[in-house]
């Protein structure tokens, strides 16, 4: 079974919830799909078995010795990546989409496409199973593809180890890395917070999630910051036919545990939040086995 934890809004507690689930019981494979802000490794300190180079997207590069500044590339580029500056063709790395169009139509063959090889994917062991995570090199694009690669590796590891559960810690938002994270998973868990932003962003990611599976559950983190808003979120979930998995209280010990490199359930098993998290996980995994 593959479960993905997402949120829409960032910073609602996805990784802390994932960490609690990953240390709750059975040995599992956990995959950090938030490849441009990967954090779970800080709690799990995994020992790497393998490190793989991830070849990222392409960027166009001009050879000024060959370029005659005819401007054809500039006129066809639809990403506004090419401009003529002081009689020279300049290609903006940040705007280039890597489509190859300019390199194909350049009459002087002055444009080549280069790929970055600085991103990495790691696979290894942590105290309660196996862990896979990607680290996108600074400024790298194409994170959706790296997410797919992380998920493939997690599946391979799970099969090889005979582990039946894969837990994915997703990125915030609703765009390409999120879609890569939730495509084809068995269950999606949305972690939200009782704020207007939390509610609005949850609605958007919920719409994406429901396109992929009917099995979407919601956790309201820090519900006691605004109970009226938590009720509103719960009401919305029920109306949509998605289950409310639980409400978690705000507890500074989550941060304390993080600083010690542990999940809150490991460090403070007696805390109310830990008891609720364990209950949610047990309920979810027993349901999954029925």
């Amino acid at each position: 079974m593959e479960l993905a934890v997402v949120s829409g809004k960032g910073g609602t507690g996805k990784s802390s919830v994932t960490a609690a689930f990953a240390t709750a019981g059975e040995r599992i494979v956990v995959a950090d799909c938030d490849v441009d802000a990967a954090n779970l490794y800080l709690l799990f300190n995994p020992e790497h078995d393998t490190e793989q180079v991830y070849i990222g997207g392409y960027t166009a590069v001009v050879d000024h010795a060959l370029c005659t500044v005819c401007g054809i590339c500039e006129s066809y580029c639809r990403f506004d990546a090419i401009t003529e500056v002081d009689g020279k063709i300049m290609i903006s790395e940040t705007s280039c989409d890597g489509c190859f169009f300019c390199s194909r139509i350049c009459p002087m063959d002055a444009i080549t496409m280069v790929r970055s090889d600085r991103s990495r994917m790691y696979s290894g062991s942590f105290r309660n199973g196996k862990m896979v995570y990607g680290r996108l090199a600074p400024g790298e694009e194409n994170s959706g593809k790296l997410v797919s690669l992380v998920r493939e590796e997690a599946k391979r590891v799970a099969t090889a180890q005979g582990m039946s559960t894969i837990l994915l810690d997703g990125p915030p938002g609703i765009g390409c890395p999120v879609i890569s994270t939730v495509t084809g998973v068995d269950r999606i868990i949305i972690v939200t917070e009782p704020t207007m932003s939390g509610l609005e962003d949850m609605k958007r990611v919920h719409e994406v999630a429901r396109k992929f599976t009917g099995d979407v559950g919601i956790i309201i983190n820090k519900y006691d910051l605004n109970e009226a808003m938590a009720d509103r979120i719960e009401g919305w979930c029920v109306a949509q036919g998605s289950a409310l998995l639980g409400r978690l209280p705000y507890d500074r010990r989550v941060t304390e545990a993080m600083i010690s490199g542990k999940s809150v359930t490991e460090m403070f098993p007696e805390a109310e939040i830990s008891i609720i998290l364990n209950e949610i996980w047990n309920k979810m995994t027993t349901n999954g086995k029925e």
Binding site: D97, N142, G175, N226
Partner: protein
């Protein structure tokens, strides 16, 4: 001048800082615009009473293939770098997979038989508003189930113009949407929290900005919840610390209900005014100029 308010980690308080900065600047009559570039999870509008001035659809051109004119040469599919043209000549199958298309236009150029025309597909919207005090607020919003917010962010920044101070509320992470936003900024403010997750993502953002030759300054939000890691890192890297904002349930409460603390708590209003001055002065000295 354009000020980007960004962060690697989500939920550290970008929107909180951007909306309150905009609020104090508009209160004192500065020429200021707020642009919400977090197109996957836009929330700035929740904090203001606004009227809509215009809504512009952001589209890209995707190919439409006329099978009757197609000679099954396969050039379009070869030129497409996104595998968006599904082509099986023996079975006389050629289909455009719109969700994979990036709208680069290479296929229609490649086609020698005039079999490809194009149609616009909406990726999202740019909404231009005015607050009740008549200040411009612009929102980039990705359509649910679309992959990439980059074109919408670009369009929203363009719409913001170059007059006075433009505050860009950036998306989280360090990949394409973040890069697209900070690329246009004269000054980048990173909002972080003093936790191991906050530090790890701050590092990633700083390194990404370094590649773009930009020197950010930092705000530590909820400065009393975690450890010394972020402060030590800033000192070591000589990154300016603009402000520390302590955790306050009153802030969390106001935020959760879509209210602005600078309207309610005088100490925070003066903190944000000082912050605005520091940023504008910092820019004036050229220390963080592009």
């Amino acid at each position: 001048m354009k000020i980007a308010v960004a962060s690697g980690k989500g939920g550290t308080g970008k929107t909180f800082v951007a909306t309150n900065l905009f609020n104090v600047l508009s209160h004192r009559g500065d020429n200021v615009t707020l642009t919400d570039c977090d197109a996957e999870a836009p929330n700035d509008l929740l904090f203001f009473r606004t009227r809509i001035v215009s809504v512009t659809e952001v589209t890209h051109q995707v190919p439409v293939i006329n099978k009757d004119a197609c000679t099954w040469c396969g050039r379009c599919s070869q030129w497409c770098n996104y595998n968006a043209i599904f082509y099986v000549p023996n079975a006389k199958v050629i289909e455009v997979i719109e969700s994979l298309c990036h709208g680069c236009g290479a296929c229609s150029f490649a086609c020698n038989d005039e079999a490809i025309t194009e149609k616009p597909v909406t990726l999202g919207t740019v909404t231009s508003c005015r607050t009740d005090k008549n200040y411009p607020l612009i929102e980039a919003r990705l359509r649910v189930n679309e992959m990439s917010p980059v074109r919408i962010i670009k369009a929203a920044i363009k719409e913001s113009g170059d007059d006075g101070v433009v505050i860009l509320d950036a998306p989280p992470g360090t990949s394409c949407p973040f890069i697209q936003t900070v690329d246009k900024a004269d000054y980048v403010v990173l909002v972080t929290e003093p936790t191991p997750f906050g530090l790890s993502d701050l590092r990633q953002s700083v390194e990404t900005l370094k590649e773009m030759r930009k020197e950010p300054a930092v705000i530590i939000n909820r400065s009393d919840i975690g450890d010394r890691g972020v402060a030590d890192y800033l000192e070591k890297e000589k990154i300016p610390l603009l402000a520390e904002i302590r955790y306050d349930p009153a802030i969390a409460r106001a935020y959760s209900e879509g209210r602005l603390v600078t309207d309610e708590i005088p100490e925070l209003a003066s903190l944000f005014e000082e912050l605005a001055d520091k940023i504008i002065d910092g820019y004036g000295t050229g220390s963080s100029k592009r």
